[in-house]
Structures are given as C-alpha cells and as structure tokens.
Symmetry: none
DNA sequence: AATCTCTGTGGCAATTTCGCGGTAAGTTTC
DNA sequence: GAAACTTACCGCGAAATTGCCACAGAGATT
C-alpha cells in the first residue's frame, strides 16, 4: 500500500501535470484547495462563478473539474448539466452537509463523484486520483454489468471505488480500497492469501492481511463476528459474496 | 499439505508432460521462461504476439497459457477475454509492477492467477503447478455429461470442487475435497486403499483413510451407518455411486 | 512540535483439520 | 465355530490456520 500510494502520487507528479478547474465562490476555500492540489503536483486554475468557469473552459484544456453546488447566480448543478452535454470531462461536486437532494441530483446530472463539506484535503486528493485513474478509458460507454455490489444496507461502487451507505460515502483506507477492488473484480471467487498479500504489499507470512480483513469486516459486515459477505475459505483464502440479487 | 505437494510434483514428473503456451513479446524473457519450465519437465511452446498465439492454439493442444499483458498490437488482456469465450484453458497472466488496474481487469476477464514482474522463476513454477492441480478436471474439452453428481438432496460440482445443498455450498476440508475429486473422476469405480491414501498424503498402514471416509459419509450420506453412495468394497477399497439418474 | 490516521507486528486465544491409538463390529477363510 | 483380516468410529492431542488486541512507527496535517 505504501508502494501503491507512492506510485500513484509519483504517477501524477510525473508526466505532464493534470490540469484541474476549481469552481467555488468562496475565495478562502478555493485558494485552500488550489494550494493543496498544487502541492500535490496538480496544475490548478480557479473560477469564482459559473460564467467565469465557462470562460476558462473555452480558453484552455482541463482534465477534471471541481464544482461547488452552492453558488450565487447559476448553480453548480446547472453548470454541471450544461457541461455534461458539451464536454466529456470528469466532474467532482462539492455539496453542503445535510443536503442529500443535491447529491442525488448531482448523480443524476452525471457527476463522477461528490464530496460533502467539510472534508479533509487528503480525501479530496484521493477522490481526484481515483477519478482520473478511472476516467482514462472513458471513451467507451456503458452497457456493462451493474457496478454496484450490495452488502445489506451498504453497497460498493466499483468503478469509483466508493463504499456507500445509502448515498453517503463511507471512509475507506487505501488498503481497504485495494482489497475491495480485487474482490469486486471477481465476486464470489476465492482469492488466495498470496494474491491478496501481494495486492496490499504485505508479507504472506505476517498477519497484515488478517488485520486488514478484520478492519474491512467491521465496515461492511452487520455482525463482524459472523461474516456473511467477506467470508473466509479455510486453508484457501477469502471470498467476497455480495447479496444474491444485487 | 506436504503430501499434496509431493503428489503434485510426482504427477508432473511422471505421466505425459503438460504442454504450456508462453505468450510474450520479449524474446529474452520468453526464452528464459521456456528453458526454466522445460527443466521442470513441462513441454513449452512460445508465441511472440497474440496472432501467433492464436495460430499455435489452433494447431495443437495445451494445458495452460502464460500471457504477458503488455504486448504490442493486441494486448494480453484482449487475448485473454477472447480465449475465455472459446477455449476453457487455465490462464496465468504476467503484469507489470504497480499496475493494479491490469490485475483487476485480468481477474474480471477470468484469469486463474497472475504474477507481477519481475518475478522469480520458482514462483512461476509453483503457481503453474497449483493451477494445473486445481484445474485438472477442466482440461478435457466439451461434450461431457453434466458435471453434477447427485447424492439425494446434495450434489457435487466437479470442476469447481463444491458440495452443494440446493445452491448453498457445504463446507469441505481439503482432504474431503481431494477424495471427492478422485471419486468424482471415476464414478462407480472402486478405488484401492493405496491410491486413496496417496491422494490425501497419508500412510496406507494407518487409519487416516478410514476416518476421512467416515467424515465424508457424515456429510453426503443420509444415513452414514448404511452408506448408499460412498460404499465400501470389502478387501478392495471404496467406491462412489451417485444416484443412477444423475 | 503536537496530533491523527493508517499500517504492520508480535503475541495469544479460538477454531479447524487431521492422524493415531484403541476398541467394537463385520467378513472371509479354514 | 474360531482365527485372521478388514473396516467402523470414538476420543484425544498435535499441527495448521485464522481472529483479534495492543502497541509502535511512519506520514500527513494542523
């Protein structure tokens, strides 16, 4: 995980820097985000309203847009809808806490992810990295299987690497995300201890994997003592068995 | 464990050698792998791209395929997906370090295992041995009967080594799985004590086999005291007789 | 510098698997 | 019938595997 983390960051830092447009009317927040993303090796441009954003978009190329929903004048939501039809850029939406309507509307408008204010800067960076990684082969459209794996009241959105409780995201660490990603790639299949350890960069001899499994169980299982979804196959490894119906 | 291991090795050394197709555009690596596997008693054929691999596959029979994901032209991933639909061969994928996406995609495409470059030749041999052991009953081509053996309300899915009660899997230990696998390979046939003991890595003199048979009976027989399916052939060994109809 | 989060490690308990000894029960042979 | 085999199967303990807590160290953030 250490390796993977470093890898991701270096990948972003290397090559030509990704260009991100931050649209928010709050100067403080916008500058904070800009500086933080700048430190992480991104190239950042700010816009303080929808009109300004359109101007910037017309003038230069971006790899991703971060939009705040609450803005005077044209709201972030409207901007998002408009952009969806014309451009094909990943969009990350910032919503206020306790406004689930915004989130749902945002998802309907086609945003790639959303973040609830207040959020931690690191969280923002992680989401951006995920979106950029996932958005690369964005050319081909959908028509593939349902990307949602359900576990009782929770669900995991592979493709965005998000664990959702209803429509609120649950915090996942990088190691946990890695595990859910492989398990999600082959639902129901038993993955060997070796493969899993390799994935999180741990020694197969140690107890690192056990610990991660337990920590993951505490997040997705109703009763972690009797796992229903992330089950252990004795002597073989572990398997992720989502709810049958989906 | 060690019994199983010894078993595997002897199986590979003896019998007719397994045929492996190695698909990699890197001549050095391909030849290295070929030579190493050759030393271990495998029969190896190389292909330097996807097209070449298809030609080889059309011309002769293989037991396993090793593919590199990174290849000019048709990628290993595409080749894998295509093969999954037409052939039913175990596939081991070689991925570059720090490309978890490749591994995920590989698992989605249905590869049996993957290995991250750079790897140690020993690792490769171990994984190949594991896959071949696990995938044995799958190698033969189609037109075989239903892979399900029925015992009353239970059934055993050879090919996946799963004992099913309706559609819920019944837990099997490794020794029990080994036994069901051999019995399932030759339904109705009487297997000698020696052969069975060899399979589970036990001394033919001890009582290990008896105990395993009993434990298995408790799982598949309606009345373990009067075995109907896993019967003992006195002085000869044991035989598995599934329900006549299937 | 102080704090927080994430992670692996070491250790110990709990669980599971497995083989052996011993004994009962059944079968064949004489 | 009785001896000689062969199989059924209960407990027990050893070994392997997994569950999980407490702790320390590394990085990131403030």
């Amino acid at each position: 995980m250490r390796g993977e983390n470093a890898n991701t960051q270096s990948a972003e830092a290397a090559a030509e820097a990704r260009h991100i447009l931050v649209v928010d009317d709050d100067d403080r927040l916008r500058n904070l985000i800009a500086r933080y993303l700048g430190d992480k090796g991104y190239r950042v441009t700010g816009a303080k309203d929808a009109a300004n954003a359109r101007a910037k978009l017309a003038g230069m190329a971006f790899d991703l847009i971060v939009v705040d929903v609450m803005m005077p004048g044209e709201s972030g939501l409207e901007l998002t809808r408009a952009l969806r039809d014309t451009l094909d850029l990943p969009i990350l939406m910032l919503t206020a806490m306790g406004e689930p309507d915004d989130r749902i509307a945002g998802l309907e408008a086609g945003v790639d992810d959303y973040l609830t204010k207040p959020f931690e800067p690191r969280e923002l960076v992680l989401r951006i990295a995920t979106i950029l990684r996932r958005a690369q082969p964005r050319a081909q459209d959908g028509s593939q299987a349902a990307p949602l794996l359900r576990f009782g009241s929770l669900s995991f959105d592979r493709g965005r690497d998000l664990l959702l409780n209803g429509d609120a995201p649950v915090r996942l660490t990088t190691a946990e995300t890695s595990l859910l990603r492989i398990f999600g790639a082959a639902p129901g299949r038993t993955l060997g201890r070796d493969a899993l350890c390799r994935e999180i960069g741990a020694e197969p001899t140690g107890r690192a994997l056990d610990v991660q499994i337990i920590r993951l169980r505490r997040k997705i299982e109703t009763n972690p003592k009797e796992p229903r979804y992330l089950v252990t196959v004795w002597g073989e490894g572990y398997a992720l068995r989502p709810d049958p119906d989906g």
